[in-house]
Amino acid sequence: MDKEVAIKVQNVSKTFYIHEDAKFTLKALFASFFHQGKTRQFKALEDINFEVYKGEFIGLIGRNGSGKSTLLKLIAGIYDPDKGGKIDYLGRLIPFLELGVGFNPELTGRENIFLNGTILGMTRKFLEERLDGIIEFAELRDFIDVPVKNYSSGMTIRLAFSIAVQTKADIYLLDEVLSVGDIAFQKKSEAKMLELIDRGATVIYVTQSINKIKELSDRVIYIKDHKVEMIGDPETVTGQYEADVMQTL
């Protein structure tokens, strides 16, 4: 089978420069004239290389702070990689690094649909057409004209998820967003995600749930200490990850 590359990550490293004096104020500015302000380097990712094929579901695992989210942000174009690194992808990419980006608690659910939807790159017309579907899916028909600040956290996240899944992209980056709401809504949202994937979308999915990873992924990338430790079939890679974690306990 001829596999088309959807995402290509080459020699990607990411260094953050952390100013020891975190407050960059006038005082700090003058202080640094006298003694050179200390900056500490922090390598969040080191020499990452991998390819993702079109239509693949990739699970991304690793311990907290290993660099998974930074990697997603690099692919999403929110950060630039260090010199020499290169990230290419084919088609339209939508990152879900967090659900409900730009949600404004003072606005009503309906107003937030348009705000959040346009932030995610949808047009107003498209959202108007989908409005009923979004409200229906979120199960918020009676509350849609109530300010979001009066929603429970479950309601908010349901609305956010319902908007997000309207996007039509070739590549989705998901950061722990599959498991939202109560069990009934989780089942519904998982089915919706699988529907997107069945349309041939490519997905990179970050989660701590090993079961989900095994169940959904075609391949798994394991990031350890800011480097790619292993890429391969879900059983092997998650097995290695679990063994590593057990060892540190």
């Binding site: 960059f24 006038l26 929110i78 730009g102 003072e106 107003r124």
Partner: protein, 260 residues
């Protein structure tokens, strides 16, 4: 450069951001949008009483002189202060989604423009009562003046919005600066007045903001005469600042996400 808005979804995003800015400012306030009017007109009322009853200014059509000055100055003031905070205020979006960041700056600028528009409605009413003749020429010239301030403020905001992220003092510096600026700008007095001794009036007359505001007044023959060639030069300078700002913004904005 302007291709960022030719895509429909970018344009819709801009509109949503402007709408949200607007709603947020007046949500949960009893008087709501009326505040847009109350601030400049209350300032106007107080200043008018002070300067006509106490100081006894000799500027003809002083009510229009003062009102146009206050409206244009607060327009400038608002663009500069809002523009400077635009990236910080929208950090929650910028850190999560990738889109042309200029949209955020532009949306705050447009909020300022809308407030100017609301203020002008009442200004026009008062101007008509006072016998000002509105011609196509005068309206176009005024729009040109408004445009110069817009371009200049947006160019400056491209720098200040980025710098503010790491240098938070800038907000306070600018707030103070605007207060001081108002005293050296002919908002409520005229450059030609006999309030000043020595060369003070020469210095104040050289304040570019004052010159632009006076040209706004000249558009409707409230004060002074039009100086179109000078305003074209101002327009070009503002446009150059805008272009340099745009380049600086484009170059540095990717780094911005790392510094919040």
């Amino acid at each position: 450069m302007f291709s960022i808005l030719t895509k429909r979804h970018r344009f819709d995003l801009l509109i949503e951001l402007v709408k949200t800015n607007f709603k947020m400012r007046y949500q949960n306030s009893v008087l709501g949008v009326l505040w847009v009017l109350i601030k400049p007109y209350a300032t106007f009322a107080v200043m008018y009483v002070v300067w006509t009853r106490i100081v006894n200014v000799d500027i003809p059509n002083y009510q229009l002189y003062l009102l146009s000055g206050i409206i244009l100055f607060s327009y400038f003031n608002e663009l500069i202060l809002l523009g400077q905070m635009s990236l910080l205020d929208n950090a929650h979006i910028i850190l999560k989604v990738n889109f042309p960041r200029q949209i955020v700056v532009l949306s705050t600028m447009l909020s300022g423009l809308i407030n100017l528009g609301i203020n002008l409605i009442f200004f026009i009413v008062i101007a008509v009562i006072s016998g000002v003749q509105f011609t196509y020429g005068s309206v176009l010239y005024f729009i040109f003046i408004v445009g110069i301030i817009f371009l200049f403020a947006m160019g400056v905001s491209f720098f200040t919005s980025v710098i503010s992220i790491r240098f938070r003092d800038l907000k306070n510096i600018f707030e103070l600066g605007i207060i001081l600026l108002q005293w050296v700008t002919p908002v409520f007095y005229a450059v030609s007045s006999n309030l000043f001794s020595g060369r003070t009036s020469d210095y104040i007359a050289a304040n570019p903001l004052g010159i632009v505001i006076n040209q706004g007044r000249a558009a409707f023959d409230i004060y002074g005469t039009k100086n179109i060639s000078l305003m074209i030069i101002y327009f070009i300078i503002s446009f150059i600042i805008f272009l340099i700002g745009w380049r600086y913004f484009n170059k540095s904005v990717k780094k911005v996400a790392e510094h919040f």
